[in-house]
Symmetry: C2
Subunit: 312 residues, 2 copies
């Protein structure tokens, strides 16, 4: 029986998985993305790992699915992703398709995660949902009528860069006030630092990470708790706006900062309902991703192959 | 050949049209919506007008399509629309379907307008677009992959109530900072009044309407020009956020305040591009509706019948 390959390309790591027909990851490999600046070299090394993985398992593959920052479903390319060390327009579909002679499907990393949730996770059977991924940045994937929304360009589903506070915080994209500037790991750290300075008149005496802000919240630190409350406020508004767009059954949340749990989720559910237009009250649940954080993107990437084949 | 009926239900008027198979409105009738508080009486009068219209034309009808505030595509009901004098849950699909024994399709008024643009107007052939309707309120209709987005509840596409300025202006929906509070006719008047007071230290000495603010802008009145500039700023951000969601080919604009033309459109196109995420630059046009303002909703409503039949 044919297996498929799912690849999750992050700024730091490239995770590769071999997936059987039951959606189980039966083998994994990885490469350090940030060691590469040359695309051909990177593709050579990926190909070598994939070949080794499939040979060791003694299986054929029927396709390769890839989730990558700025990944474009229609072109199969990654175009100038800010957090990749390999620059330019990277044609993954052609590069891997020509080496393996199988279909290659590519989408952005958050879209792949959303699709993984749809095919294998908590969104199974849902026709309308939205996934928010919190991490270095904030990504999103949107499913409408059972299909990932790629839009006219192939790059739809960028709610992390929706402007939430006009004239607000500087965002990494060059504009101001994006959701990402408030609810990414970096945004959360910035909120903590601002609140700490306001409360103590000094900088924190240790390096602050979103994970540490999570630990402090569980220890009852009021600055940390207030940080998560403010994060919930911004994310709750962004989620209520997403409901005004596609009226999903559920909004899923995943990624490192979301692992904090109740300090974020309890105020998030309150802020979400408080900011949701009355006609949508109690129509949409906020749920955590039901898949393992290190599996969802690989599974979703592999599932993209089937979606691509339906499309073509 | 069978004709169809399109009905546009507004807070003030109910416009009814008889549409032939070429999409031409061959007869029209109307009723004053705001004279009614009893649903049965209203349905009786609508039915009488429809019967008179089809009898006079000597044609059969194959369906009735309705665009109405808070109209729900799935239930065929209008549920407690704030700007209708008839209250409660109004089951148009059952009431008219049982009298005429034809399929009845209902959606909200902005969705109907978007669908009219799609079937008969400037969006023909587009797979992804968004329609914003400016009027007493601000509505929107969204087409993704060639289908109106109704979401899990049937009420999707409410971008007028997306929160644009957290903690901002009071909106008619009870929340604060919605797009509608800034770019509806009322929002535009409020902006003019605020700017006038700031410039002159007094209230304007005449009644202000969004139409008058438009006339003043064409006469070069600096307060009026600045009003449209600010309106363009808010609307441009909302449109750029819509692009981050579904990456449409075009965003259409219609409704009374949009008729002002250049004083709104010129800064709007600038604000839109300036606030759009770099990956979407020059991928989406802002266009005026290509249909007559008093026809688009009726045509769109009639077109909903076909969409409903595909769905069922």
């Amino acid at each position: 029986m044919a297996h498929s390959i799912g690849i999750d390309i992050g700024g730091t790591n490239t995770d590769m998985g071999l997936i059987n027909e039951d959606g189980i990851i039966v083998a994994r490999r990885n490469l350090p993305t940030n060691r590469y600046t040359d695309f051909d070299l990177y593709i050579n090394d990926i190909s070598r790992e994939l070949q080794a993985m499939t040979s060791a398992a003694g299986v054929e593959i029927d396709g390769i699915g890839i989730g990558a920052p700025n990944g474009n479903f229609y072109t199969g390319c990654v175009d100038n992703a800010p957090n990749l060390t390999i620059k330019g327009n990277l044609d993954f579909e052609h590069a891997l398709g020509s080496r393996f002679s199988v279909p290659v499907a590519l989408s952005n990393d958050a879209n792949a995660a959303a699709y993984g949730e749809y095919v294998y996770g908590g969104a199974r059977g849902m026709k309308h949902f939205v996934m928010f991924t919190l991490g270095t940045g904030v990504g999103s994937g949107i499913v409408v009528d059972g299909r990932l929304v790629h839009g006219s360009t192939g790059a739809a589903g960028e709610l992390g860069h929706n402007i939430l506070v006009p004239g607000g915080r500087q965002c990494s994209c060059g504009r101001c006030g994006c959701l990402e500037a408030y609810t990414s790991a970096r945004g959360i750290v910035q909120t903590y630092r601002e609140l700490y300075r306001a409360a103590h008149g000094a900088e924190p005496d240790q390096e602050i990470t979103s994970k540490l802000v999570g630990q402090k919240a569980h220890e009852g630190d009021p600055t940390a708790l207030e940080t998560w409350h403010q994060t919930a406020h911004w994310l709750g508004i962004a989620m209520s706006n997403a409901v005004g767009f596609s009226s999903p059954e559920a909004i899923f949340l995943m990624g490192g900062p979301a692992q904090v749990g109740d300090p974020l989720l309890v105020p998030l559910r309150q802020e979400f309902e408080a900011n949701t237009l009355y006609i949508f009250h109690n129509t949409c649940r906020i749920m955590m991703s039901q898949l393992k954080a290190n599996e969802v993107a690989i599974l979703g990437a592999a599932a993209l192959i089937k979606m691509k084949q339906q499309k073509v």
